[in-house]
């Protein structure tokens, strides 16, 4: 008999349960298997009701984030063998601080609304016609914002952020890092438009600089750094708005 490991999985079905509970499953430990493979094994062979999201299985679509032994992880990149050595038990729960739809599936409507609110798109009114060619941007200018553009929206940073836990209105690390991605882009002129949301008490000022967001990011984005950087920008933009009435762009907040 092959070596096995126990997965304790949080189960919750709103049609039957008043609160989540844990259910244990035994799965074989194959050295290539990640936690997601174990979940698929259970769903295919043992219990078709187990409910979770997944898609690419290569750490880029951002669907399969869960709490694994209390840590926010992409389950497609979390190997069973890393836990088999530490006590033969893996606890899998939905990402913390999000409402739970069912089992391991969290409710993301609010997260999506925050992305829209932060105006995460290139703002550059009155662009020249396409026939004029590309906006020039040197590799150094690309490097200024590129790491913030690596965010895959997996929401692990929200599950790691104690401020999100205390204040659900807080815009949160990913949206703030992505806002900074556009603010730092030499082609963008929208930092003034984003000011109202970002400089709000629920924007960057909500962050108490715990730094957990940066620690758990599977793509090595540094939201904590982006937020600290932006706090300085926000002060300067705010001051500028007094000095030059239209200099900081259009405000709509």
């Amino acid at each position: 008999m092959a070596e096995t490991i126990t997965l304790e999985i949080a189960r919750y079905s709103p049609e039957q349960d008043t609160a989540p509970h844990f259910q244990s499953f035994e799965v074989p430990v194959n050295k290539e298997w990640v936690v997601l493979d174990a979940l698929n094994h259970i769903k295919d062979k043992q219990d078709g009701t187990l409910t979770y999201r997944w898609s690419c299985r290569m750490g880029i679509c951002g669907s399969c984030g869960m709490m694994v032994n209390g840590e926010p992880k992409l389950t497609c990149a979390t190997f069973l063998t890393d836990y088999a050595r530490q006590g033969k038990k893996i606890r899998v729960e939905p990402l913390r601080y999000f409402p739970v739809v069912r089992d391991l599936v969290t409710e993301l409507t609010d997260f999506l609304a925050k992305l829209k609110k932060a105006k995460l798109w290139l703002i550059h009114p009155n662009q020249p016609p396409l026939s004029d060619g590309e906006f020039l941007q040197t590799p150094t200018q690309v490097d200024r914002y590129k790491q913030y553009a690596m965010c895959i929206n997996c929401t692990l940073c929200y599950a790691a952020c104690p401020v999100v836990g205390l204040d659900p209105i807080f815009v949160g690390p990913a949206a703030l890092a992505l806002a900074q991605r556009y603010n730092m882009d030499s082609r963008d002129q929208g930092s003034g438009d984003r000011l109202a949301v970002l400089a709000h008490p629920d924007g960057v000022w909500g962050c108490t600089f715990v730094g957990e967001c940066t620690r758990v990011c599977p793509k090595h984005v540094d939201p904590a750094g982006a937020i600290q950087q932006y706090k300085l920008t926000a002060v300067l933009e705010w001051l500028k708005s007094f000095v030059t009435p239209r200099g900081a762009g259009k405000h709509d907040g």
Binding site: T49, R57, P139
Partner: protein, 595 residues
């Protein structure tokens, strides 16, 4: 039952779907546009595309050369009028994405940088490191958020097209979170659901790639085109099937057999040079490289692993600096999923099902033969890809034909009356079907995963890299049998809330139909062309098969295959030549390694 109503409805929110939605919104901002997707749009499989997007960008290149590479790469099965439109519009679309913020790699002077790619005679592949699809998708998604006419239905699963009197009227969809079944009406519908790699056991495709849109159209009487042409990418990681991008070879990687020998030189692909040579050796087209792997395996010159035979991709001579600058995702994937560091070690790779050349038959504007129904992206077959797609043509295809379909569907919708009253009755029929066949059904004996696994094995055995009549017939019979057994499914899950087992069962139904269409097309095409290789008919036969397969589903579930001539404009069928014959005119420039 609830009904909501729109003018233009997108099924799928990946590269093609989002591009189409934005295009429709720009044609007429008054249109009510819906994007219905079974996943949040930024999870769509466009996100996994790595290497780049082709579009003529530099003075040494020309539209005709891009067209010729595409047509010869497709073994002359591409429609040349579609290819001409494609190569002309691809640079505009890539430039448009630049204007929307896509972080393309740049030359030191700030202009767009391009890289080499397989089967391309000039460097014309725009790239954002090796996460090009990821950056394109997020750029499109973030851009789309500012368009108020676009309403999103995130995590809604479309189960059926609403069709009456030869016209599409919308879709029936399940809202996963609540289990609510709803009719969503529209004057035009664009299918942008991507490919169907999950029909096979070993694929680069995400779990969501189940041929949904192909089956939806097929069941509505729309023909699928060229379904026998399935692309194996030559470099997938064993076990996971994770793609190692062709850019790894474009940057100079070598393919080695178990003796450390660059075996592609034995397969009429040129002679090995230390630096990459365009349209030669490792930069040959994907079909030829995957076929060479099978031959090499038959000679006993591959390496056995628990997950099948492999060869090696060697990047070590490129050095850490170049790998980290141009191929960071390759290194991350190898280290994280294969425990191999390509800076120091050989990467084990084997051919893996990657892309569907065939799909819903459309014209050059994405229109299908069913009034009001359009398709774009991998789900569609225009066809620009012919019998074998060239690497880095699929991302611009999503943009060019997404935009074309978006505009055409918007124009069509602007001229149509509201869908008629039949909608409610059709939608109720579908709701009853979902209840009786799945949610309230008792007494079935089959599990989704069992039938799915058997289907995948069947497809690999009968419709893999090499095919022949006996194996295809056996595959066709087995698929019929699996269709019967599918009716005997029993779900564990009868919940209304986020029922992923129901979703998997419906996806399996789609995949079985798509699998049958593939095997039927492969059976009927008694020649070898591009990715369709028949050991019993090893030669290309232009006299009989310079034509697209069109497969129809008869009302009794049986199939019918017809043919339609290929559109030839300026490039009469010729021999596909790769290797030294083209090497002299296609030396890569030194500048490519410097930025």
């Amino acid at each position: 039952m609830d009904t909501s109503s729109h003018d233009v409805l997108l099924v799928g929110g990946g590269g093609a779907g989002l591009r189409a939605a934005i295009a429709a919104a720009e044609v007429n901002p008054k249109l009510r546009i819906a994007v219905v997707s079974k996943v949040y749009p930024m999870r769509s499989h466009t996100v996994s595309a790595e290497g780049g997007a082709a579009g003529v960008a530099k003075p040494d290149d020309s539209l005709d050369e891009h067209a010729y590479d595409t047509i010869s790469g497709g073994d002359w099965l591409s429609d040349q009028d579609a290819v001409e439109a494609f190569v002309k519009e691809a640079p505009q679309e890539l430039l448009q994405l630049e204007r929307w913020g896509c972080p393309w790699n740049r030359e030191p002077d700030g202009h767009i940088a391009v890289r080499a790619f397989g089967g391309m005679k000039k460097m014309r592949t725009w790239f954002a490191a090796d996460k090009t699809g990821f950056h394109m998708l997020h750029t499109l998604f973030q851009t789309s958020m500012q368009y108020d006419p676009i309403t999103r239905y995130d995590e809604w699963f479309v189960t059926r097209l609403l069709v009456d009197e030869g016209r599409v009227l919308g879709v029936v969809a399940i809202e996963l979170m609540s289990g609510k079944v709803q009719a969503i009406t529209a004057k035009s519908v664009i299918l942008c659901t991507g490919g169907c790699g999950r029909v096979f056991p070993f694929t680069t495709n995400a779990s969501i790639k189940n041929g949904d849109g192909m089956a939806l159209a097929y069941r509505a009487g729309v023909p699928l085109k060229d379904m026998e042409f399935i692309q194996y990418h030559p470099t997938g990681l064993p076990f996971t099937g994770i793609l190692i991008t062709e850019a790894a070879r474009a940057e100079g990687g070598y393919m080695l057999n178990k003796d450390g020998y660059r075996y592609l030189q034995d397969y009429n692909l040129g002679t090995p040079e230390p630096k990459p040579v365009l349209r030669s050796m490792e930069l040959g087209p994907r079909d030829r490289l995957s076929q060479a792997f099978v031959k090499e395996d038959q000679k006993g010159r591959t390496i056995e692993t628990p997950y099948g035979p492999v060869v090696h991709l060697d990047l070590r001579h490129l050095g850490e600096k170049l790998i980290d600058a141009k191929l960071p995702f390759v290194r991350e994937l190898c280290m994280k999923y294969q425990n191999v560091d390509p800076v120091k070690e050989l990467i084990p790779v084997r051919p893996v099902v990657h892309y569907m050349m065939g799909g819903v038959s459309t014209d050059i504007n994405g229109a299908t033969p069913l009034a009001g129904l359009f398709a774009a992206g991998e789900v569609a077959c225009v066809s620009i890809n012919g019998a074998n797609r060239l690497g880095s043509n699929s991302l611009p295809e999503c943009l060019v034909f997404g935009a074309r379909a978006g505009r055409a569907a918007a124009t069509y919708a602007s001229e149509q009356p509201e869908p008629n009253g039949k909608v409610a009755a059709l939608a109720s029929d579908e709701q009853r079907r979902l209840e009786s066949e799945f949610l309230r059904k008792v007494g079935g004996r089959e599990r989704v995963a069992t039938i799915r696994t058997e289907m995948q094995t069947t497809m690999e055995n009968s419709a893999g890299i090499y095919r022949e009549q006996g194996l295809l017939l056996a595959g066709a019979n087995k698929l019929r049998n699996l269709q019967e057994r599918y009716r005997d499914l029993q779900l564990d899950d009868h919940s209304r809330t986020f029922n992923t087992e129901l979703e998997s069962a419906l996806e399996l139904g789609f995949m079985l139909d798509v699998a049958e269409s593939m095997v039927q097309c492969a059976l009927h095409r008694t020649e070898s062309r591009g990715a369709h290789q028949r050991t019993d008919y090893p030669a290309r036969n232009d006299e009989k098969f310079l034509a697209h397969s069109l497969v129809y589903r008869n009302p009794d579930g049986s199939t019918r295959v017809e043919y339609k001539p290929v559109a030839i404009t300026r490039w009469p069928p010729g021999e596909r030549v790769y290797g030294q014959q083209t090497a002299k005119q296609a030396q890569p420039q030194e500048t490519r390694l410097t930025n």
